[in-house]
Amino acid sequence: MRYEAPTTAKEAVRLMAGKAGMARVLAGGTDLLVQIRTDRIAPDLIVDIKRIAGMRSIMTKSGGFRIGAAVSGAELGEHKALRRAWPGVVEAANLIGSIQIQSRATMGGNLCNASPAADSVPALVAAGATAVIVGPRGRRSLPVEDVAVAPGRTSLKKGEIVEAIVLPKRAPRSGDAYLRFIPRSEMDIAVVGAGVSLTLDRNGVCTAARVALGAVAERVILVPDAAKALIGSTVDQAALERLAAAASAACRPIDDKRGTKKFRIKVAGVLARRAARTALARAQGK
């Protein structure tokens, strides 16, 4: 195995696109190093992107944010403006692992690891985030929900790297939230995750909403029916129950060591409802 730590995205792409063999991007390493250690993968080349300045910074961009792919969870949590605008995204990223993991783990890595249970991804999908991808043919943008295609698999082509995640400008009276279900209070992988983002008009009626669920399908899913349950309502109890039902209906989970199908389907609705309540309170400025 070879280790490289380029200082430019261009050089990183060149390395990733280079000769045959398995190349892997090292951002926070909290998934990658575990996979290497447990013999699940044996890369020939590791490209550490943490020495690339643009991938380590958070920039405001046309009212939104451009978050470098190698920005750690801890750094996200310390960014006041980001936390104010997208509290749900930040809380989702900050739920990943311990303080030790937060020092390292990145949303870029969380996205590219392509786990259906990734905590930051439902929040990003709900937020309508896009991934900026740099590759041998230049840059392109992709909605976050289109990056992962199956457990452990992304739509990225050889040589491509997620360089940044872009969060759009926030409309007034908007709020987002993410909740996950884990058996312990910390350190677990989500059994179910739910991200909700919504916008209200001056009368408190929901004009826009996005709802995404994690760990209930082969990848994080956007649930338009759940959003529809909210839009046009004041996010009252009846709307929330419709949202919960739509969320549960969209699940196509499996039974595994972390939970049963039945459990995930029910809890997805519960969490979507609870997350929507928090998002609503945030949109109302509470």
Binding site: M1, Y3, L33, T38, D48, Q100, I101, E186, M187
Partner: protein
């Protein structure tokens, strides 16, 4: 050796001292500390970032050294449990862990001390809940955490007095 392995040369700072080493690309910082540098205070409890026994501070942030490559330490500042005391003077956390019997077997203790120091560096007056969540990445199987939390509270109080 069966194949040529290209070693990575690393210059870094550990507990204030300049250190240079060669490591294999796949070796972790924990491997380097323990096997190359004789710093066995950090322990490998799981190797997957789930127990915190290998906690060290890199550039002011606490990490699991089992999830950091040795090669990544180039130019960084690393602090391990061996760097907590000043000469023969214990850090208040070390002293309070002893006074409060916050260790039984002691194998998780180095990780707890490093993580607790990082916690108090950022938050000098944490609540019980903040301590518990701040140390959730450090597993202890002996104590039930009660005495650890109390020791951290006591150390924090003492450190605030200055």
């Amino acid at each position: 050796m069966g194949e040529m392995m290209s070693k990575v040369k690393v210059s870094t700072t550990i507990n204030g001292d300049p250190v240079e080493y060669l490591c294999d690309a796949e070796e972790t910082l924990l491997d380097v500390l323990r096997d190359h540098l004789g710093l066995t205070g950090a322990k490998e409890g799981c190797g997957t970032g789930d127990c915190g026994a290998c906690s060290v501070v890199v550039d002011g942030r606490v990490v699991c050294s089992c999830l950091v490559l040795g090669a990544e330490a180039e130019g960084r500042k690393v602090t391990t449990v061996e760097g907590l005391a000043t000469g023969d003077r214990l850090h208040p956390l070390q002293q309070k862990f002893l006074e409060f019997a916050a260790l039984q077997c002691g194998v998780c203790t180095p990780g707890f001390l490093v993580a607790a120091k990082a916690l108090l560096d950022r938050n000098p007056d944490p609540t019980e809940t903040e301590i518990r969540f701040g140390l959730a990445g450090n597993l202890c199987r002996c104590t039930g955490y009660d005495k650890i939390v109390r020791a951290v509270q006591a150390a924090a109080a003492e450190m605030r007095k200055g």
